[in-house]
Symmetry: C2
Subunit: 417 residues, 2 copies
């Protein structure tokens, strides 16, 4: 049988055609499929219309080795994926007695009778293999026809992900052949995307034409830029060596802006440096209002290197809790290098930390002055080294806050280098 | 001419077929299109392959009144949207001298010569109208053929959004006829999704069959649930009345769990209550590590009602900064109602606030005990009223933290009711 190389993902659900919900299952699935060398060629979002969906499924199966659908396996009339796939494949829907028994039993375990509507979930296209659902009633389905395969997965991520890992991954691995997609990420901060592109583009321009072709893309969010390099082929060692060579040619040009080449976030890099040096961190935040601390405490185990922090939104808090001198605030204003330095010193001393960061600034939309417009942010570090720096970030309130978080973490990263 | 009712959106870019980037432009566009009564029927994500994309464009134009593409308008060989659309429509690409002059001028204003590669951006399908790009070189394109329209927009949101608002919205409004999509959102917290569905389903089951049919969907994230109701038609007043009637039938059944019916977030509701009562808030966080404060300070103007807060990750911070008695910590442990209450009192007094919230808990993955497993979270409020409550949240670290944030805000909302 020809190996499976190219996949399409179809996300089913009218709610995915509203402004309020994006298909994110496909990102998770793409990561899993890429690991075993299967590329995603196209993604479609379809509403709960059996005719539309049947047409999408027929066309996708003509183009691609593998079709994965997500959603539309529930018990109600809106759940049309089973019907649409059966129609597209020209197969009848048949009642799978084992699936019906499993659904009925699930209800009985909870002391309930299975509602009649749930019988629909036991109807499967003839020849399909039902994939057990550990956390819900909707079974998934695995359907082969000739060289090609079609997998129907439930929409909720907490049902889809364990089902894929338990029942789909091994089936696909058997069919994908010995192919791998390898990926490296160079993560950096403190540079605008255009500057990074200007530096990196001449270097990676030739990557696609090398013996092991390397594809590249730049992903940017405020204050954080990722250069992705990836390659696919049968020799995992050769792919890794090619990517390592690509990374090592880019690094010298990008310099100290790079904070990781192994997938770690900026928060994780700061965490690792604190841990390995046995240092405690404290944070004082004004304009970022808890976002620096929130990101740091996303890292599991953060209680081993983070004392905590103070969100000193009000000047009274800067004075009472952080011990900033009222004269200093009067003379320089809350958004100034002397005040940021005093906030950093205050939080370090009061929280008995070894190193501290302080952020104070004007995130907007109001509060700017001709002298200190919206986007003016001062970041200071205290302990190990003491310094303060003033930034002018562009963008709206949310962007200014994101830039400020990244710049704060980057300052402490560099101090700990 | 027949009015434009049904749209498809095609997002172009191989990076959108990686695990790292989702198409989010389509959410923004869907909101804008819905406002003028245009529904999105299908969304596709395509890579940078001219043949694939031309096939997608041809098929989409047979099905739908309007096709909107995003991305693939840059100057490089990877940017294939112009070529693909020209091929699909059977039109030649012609050089638009005005577009070329505008691109050249843009470079010259910055003292640069236009790179030869940017000439590609001035090639447009014959008969297309170029849409000026205020912040980049890539013009958009508006192409009509018969009753149908095709709009090509650049991928970066900061280019796409102003271009749509300045040059696409009015053209579409002229073609969409007098049609509206109206929407109402009932937002609630403190109930699991299944419980909300059980309560709401019997009420809204009949909505789709009423004279003004109302569509419904439930969107859930940890600790926050949104019931969306929407209706489309030509009489905006009738739509609004039907939706108001739907909302008013659901509200009594949902009770105090509902925090807004006007689109405000839980943070905004808390902000409005504090502002209208002239009260100051302070927050003490342990397991949420700044996420409560971070959400509150996302609200513009939060400095008018938020003094700030303390992230007391370490017990020493609870003692030194919040004044929690060491004996209390020894006797009850950090995750206990007496300690949470003392944290709330401490942060309220030290930050001179009128009302305070404190959160302490075990977010995991480690730190759980048989007595207090991962997911145990205690939330206390002080000032106005004083109370503490223990929760057991399910899920991973991130989910426990999200549930805790919502429950904290909800507790203070109810106290301020």
């Amino acid at each position: 049988m020809a190996p499976i190389r190219a996949a399409e993902i179809v996300a089913v659900g009218t709610e995915l055609l509203t402004p309020f919900r994006a298909d994110t299952n496909s990102l998770w699935l793409t990561a899993r499929l890429n690991e075993i060398g299967i590329e995603v060629r196209r993604k479609t979002v379809a509403g709960d219309h059996v005719g539309d969906l049947a047409a999408i499924v027929s066309e996708a199966r003509e183009r691609s080795d593998l079709l994965v659908t997500t959603g539309g396996l529930g018990p109600t009339a809106d759940d049309v994926t089973r019907d649409a796939v059966a129609r597209a494949l020209g197969r009848e829907l048949v009642l799978d007695e084992a699936v019906l028994a499993a659904i009925r039993e699930r209800f009985e375990r909870r002391g309930m009778r299975m509602p009649e509507v749930n019988r629909r979930q036991a109807l499967v296209p003839a020849g399909a293999v039902a994939l057990p659902n550990a956390v819900g009633t909707a079974p998934g389905l695995w359907i082969e026809s000739g060289d090609r395969a079609c997998v129907l997965l439930p929409g909720p991520p907490r049902e889809l992900q364990p089902m894929y890992d338990a029942h789909v991954a091994s089936r696909l691995r058997d069919r994908a052949g010995e192919r791998h997609v390898r990926r490296r990420v160079i993560a950096l901060t403190g540079q605008p995307e255009s500057k990074v592109d200007e530096i990196a583009q001449p270097i990676y321009a030739g990557f696609a034409g090398e013996p092991v072709p390397i594809a590249t893309t730049v992903l940017a969010s405020p204050g954080r830029i990722e250069l992705h390099l990836w390659a696919s082929g049968t020799d995992a060692g050769a792919l890794d060596r090619a990517l390592e060579s690509g990374v090592s040619r880019l690094l010298p040009a990008l310099g100290r802006a790079v904070y990781s080449t192994d997938g770690r976030s900026l928060e994780e890099v700061v965490a690792d440096r604190l841990l390995s040096r046995g240092l405690w961190l404290a944070v004082a935040e004004s304009c970022t209002g808890g976002r620096v601390l929130g990101g740091l405490t996303d890292v599991p185990g953060s209680s081993a290197w983070l004392r905590g922090g103070v969100v000193a939104y009000d000047n009274a808090v800067k004075i009472d809790v952080l011990g900033v001198a009222p004269d200093l605030l009067r003379a320089h204003g809350a958004v100034s290098e002397p005040v940021a330095a005093a906030m950093a010193r205050g939080v370090r001393e009061r929280l008995r930390a070894d190193v501290a960061i302080a952020v104070t600034g004007i995130a907007g939309p109001t509060g700017g002055t001709p002298d200190k417009p919206v986007g003016t942010v001062v970041i200071a570090v205290d302990g190990i080294a003491a310094s303060a720096r003033t930034f002018r970030f562009a963008g709206d309130r949310s962007m200014v806050r994101q830039f400020s978080v990244a710049a704060s973490l980057d300052l402490v990263r560099r101090v700990l280098d």
